[in-house]
Every structure is written in C-alpha cells, then in structure tokens.
C-alpha cells in the first residue's frame, strides 16, 4: 500500500536520541515534556542502535506483510489504512509479536502488554514526533 512511512537514513543520524524522548513524550498523556519525562525512565517505541560512529533509529516499518499481526494470538494487532495498530486492551503480553517482528520494533510497554509505533496518529496531530523532532532529517515521514 502506498502511504507515508517513517524512513531512516543512518548517514544523517547523530545518535542524539531526541527521537526516543520525543516518542516517549508524544505517547505520554502529558502536554509538558518536563512533566512527562522528568525522572522517568523512558520506554520509547523508537530505539536508537549505535556502535562507534554508526547510529540509526528503528521503529515499526508498517510492513505490507505484517508478521506481527499474522502471528498475534489475540487478534490485538490490526492494520488500519496501512498503519499497524495495537489494541492494548486485547493484548495479553504473550510476546508472539516479538517473536515475529524481523526488525525488533515491538516491545513491552510499562504495563507489560506490547507497544509499538503507530505513527502518532492518535497523538501529536498525526505527525510522528520522532520525525518532527529530528534535528538532522535522519528520520523522515514520506511516501516512497
């Protein structure tokens, strides 16, 4: 499906980790970043991998063949207009999606059920916060 996706270009990733903090903030219920994140260990849906001078962010690719969704034992994962969404009410935290996802882009939330990038469509006005906050356009949201 042709849709906007998050793409990462490690050439420009600085490893500043702002995407992780913007993600955590965007997915918190707070409107103030300090209130949301001060003295709180973050558990973002986008994660930086780094080694030496190489850095890049990994978040859900919203695959056309979403193995996580196909494997989910609860039917908690679904595709809505190309966006893979998780119903955290349904999820029981069995980790089958972790077993299935080839990118390692789905992980437990603080409550034990799974969380994943949903492109901020339910927060921050539909613009992924990691993209908006990336200082070097290493993360972009576009149709390719």
């Amino acid at each position: 499906m042709r849709m906007k996706r998050i793409y990462v270009d490690e050439k420009w990733c600085l490893g500043c980790h702002l995407c992780e903090y913007n993600c955590a903030f965007s997915n918190s219920a707070e409107t103030d970043m300090v209130k949301a994140l001060k003295d709180v260990p973050i558990n973002p849906r986008i994660r930086i991998e780094e080694a030496g001078n190489i850095h890049f962010a990994v978040s859900c690719r919203h695959c056309e063949e979403p193995l996580c969704m196909k494997g989910c034992i609860m039917g908690a994962l679904s595709v809505e207009d190309g966006v893979i969404m998780i119903d955290q009410e349904k999820c029981v935290g069995c980790c089958t999606c972790i077993l299935m996802c080839p990118y390692g882009a789905i992980m437990p939330s603080d409550t034990g059920v799974m969380q994943k990038c949903e492109l901020c469509i339910n927060n921050a006005g539909g613009k992924p916060a990691c993209v908006e906050g990336c200082p070097n356009r290493a993360i972009v949201f576009e149709e390719r």
Partner: protein, 501 residues
Amino acid sequence: MAINFLYPDYEVVRDQTKCIACRVCERQCANGVHMLDETLNLMKSDDAKCVNCHRCVSLCPTRALKIVKTDHTFKENANWTGETIKEVYRQAATGGVLLSSMGNPKPYPVYWDKLLINASQVTNPSIDPLREPMETRVYLGKKPGAIQRDQNGEIICNLTPQLELDVPVMFSAMSYGSISYNAHESLARAARALNTLYNTGEGGLHEDFYEYSANTIVQVASGRFGVHKDYLNAGAAIEIKMGQGAKPGIGGHLPGQKIVGDVSRTRMIPEGSDAISPAPHHDIYSIEDLRQLVYSLKEATDYQKPVIVKIAAVHNVAAIASGVARSGADIIAIDGFRGGTGAAPTRIRDNVGIPIELALASVDQRLRDEGIRNNVSIVVGGSIRNSADVVKAVALGADAVYIATGALLALGCHLCRSCQAGKCNWGIATQEPELVKRLNPDIGSERLVNLIHAWQHEIKEMMGGMGINSIEALKGNRLMLRGIGLNEKELGILGVKYAGE
C-alpha cells in the same frame, strides 16, 4: 601544575527543574562540556570547556540550558580590558602567537550603519515590486567601452566572458578543509538553486562537486593547492587570491591533521603534511607578473572564463585596484577587514586592513577617474550582513557582493569563533566524520536558499522604494545614500552627502 590565570569565559546555566537528563547536550558537545552524574541522575557541566556555540542550547528539548557570559571580572580599565589581560596571560603561559577565527570583532566603525538609503516621495513614484517587474540580475566581467559595428552596420559581438547572477550575492571562498564536505555541498547546491556562484577557496575542488561547475568559482592561491587543468576548467570563473581581509599580508596554514583522506587528495598533497600557503605568490612581484598569471589561466581555459583577482582592503587599495584593472582581470574582489577566516593570528585579524565601505568607495571612484571602471566588475566582501548592506554596497559602486559569515550562520554557525579547533559542533568547520554528518546538505542548502531569497525580496523592496527597477541602475548611484555620524573626510571618501543635504 602551573597556576591557571584564566577563568572560563562562559557559564552553562542549567535549569535543573526542566532538565530531563536526556543527555542530548552531552552527546552533542564535542568539547565534552556536559556529563551525567549517574548516581545523582543529574547533568553537570564544565564551563571551562564551553565555547558558547549553542549546539546544546539549540537541541535541548526542554530549553533547560542557556549560556551566559561570565560576570567574573578582572580589575580592568579602559586600557587594560579583561580581554587584553587574558591575552597576556595566555601568551605568558604558552609563548605562542594567538590564533582566532571568523572576522575582526573589535568596535571599529561599521560604515554600513552610518549610511541611509533614499526613498521616493511624490515627484518620482516608488515601484511596487509585487506588481512590477524588478530586476536583480547582474553580469560580471569586462564591459566594452563602446559599441563596435562591422561595415554592414551589424554589432560586433566581442563581449568577453561574463558571469550571470540572478541576485548580486555570491558565496565567497572557503576551502574544503577549512570547512567540511557537507558545508561545501550545501553551498554548491544553494548556488545552483539560486543561479549564483560559490567559491572553492584554495583547497581544490572535490570530484563530487564537478557537477556544480556552472556555479563554481575555482580559486588559485599562493599555495596552488589542488590546481590542475581540469580544475581550472571545472569552474565558471577563476579567482586569483592575492589577499584576504581577515589576514592581509600573510599566508595560510592548514595543519597536517586536517589533511586527511579526500582533503589530501583534493589538495594534491600527502596526508598529514601541513598545507602552507605562502604570504605572497612567489611568482608575482608586480602588476606585470600578475598579468602573466591572469593570462596563463586564460590561456589554460581557452579565454572562456572570467578571471577574478581578489585583494584585501588595505591602505593603498585604490592604486592596487587600478593596477589589477589593467592586468587583464575581469573582476576585482575586495575583501574588507571584517571578513572571516578559519584561522588567523589574532593581532593580524584585529589590526590589519581597512573597512570595506571606504575601500569600495575609493576604488570605484579611482577607476572611474581613470576611465577604466568598465574594464572590471567589482565584488566586495567582508561582513556583508544583510540585504541593506548589499543595497548600500551596490550604491557605493559594487557590481555584486560576497558573503561567507552570513552563509555559515545560515548553516548553523553560531560565531563561537573556534573554527581553528576543528571541533565544530555544527559540522561546518571540521573534518571529523561524526561532526561533519551533523550538517545535512538537504537542510543546509535549503536554509541558504531561504536566506538569499529573503534578501532578494528585501532588495527589491528597497529598490522599489527608491523608484529603481533594475539593480544596474542602482550601481554607483551614491545619491541614493546619505551619511549620518560621519565627518567630512569620511563623507568625501564615501562620496555621499550628509543626511539632510
């Protein structure tokens, strides 16, 4: 350990109630100012390492940081200022020549700010640039003194090569080596998008950037680094650098540790060797010698490229320019004493040379007086800060201007004046790959284009206000300027009347 006489110039002020310890400041500071105290989960800062480049301030997601100038003070006076005292301490500790970067920061008069621009009222209507065509295009190069016709009365087209610019602003010379690959790419891409030119400086031209040749000025300087036939032909014009406003009369020195990889290849010198540009060109001791080089370069490029001779604004600039105008050069570039540099001895930067405004006015006048103004175009640089400076420069007689510091600011430079350290946190004046990557040319070129577009709009507004619809009609039109706070001598050199006259 020796006593440290110096107190840090800046203090990092962190609002701990806002700091979320995300460590972006720590990760982004190449100077190692910030660190996390893991046991306290508190970010700390070492003020002594801070150069006040604002990288941390700009990236802090909660605006928890600011940098302030320390109010720690010496017992200073008007003569022995804190800065002066510190410099003595520094030299007493090291025995070295003080190095600085960017332009002369001393409070010499800024003549741009003492010149005011005219506007039309009643008798000569102003023009609305949103409704009327407004021309900012200029052509740089030698202009014929008279039209020649053949026996059939047809015009003989014998115009020497010209540079066509959509806007009279070019990016002046900054070498690959002094600035990064990504900074060069940003400048090159912006120059193409704007239909203007950028300048390689004397570091040669990276093979990746040959594709921007129509928007490239290739420089030949005293070190002759990276100069070969293909390089000369790769540019739209060739610039011979005789001098630089930030350090007139002296050469350059790019330390060996910056001569790595592509920089070494592009400069055509071994990795790790210092790139020393001599103070003079050792083959130029007269205008006649200069003429030989000008024509050598023209010969090498089949007379297809205009040749620019760049000189620093110094005491005798008018006479020097007169000589240059007779050397066969098509364009004279004059660099004022506030022009930037990647590194210069502080004393030179702060004490040598003259203001570009005075240099420009006197050169333009001298060439007119000698009837050779049309031999050359005049380009001026050295702290052109905004569109009003451009308008004033053109009214004083310039055909176009060079900007560099302004362009670097657009790329993110915060004028911390630490280029010589090679640890530019903004990815501009550095060759360290993890710092270079901080400047994404997609963003950099976009910001440069934005800046020049904004200036172009403003130039048109000001021209319209004066009732002028073509930048050519503003050139040398000193009646459009009035002086303020200037003495008779200054007014005389600038060739402008006092405000109210």
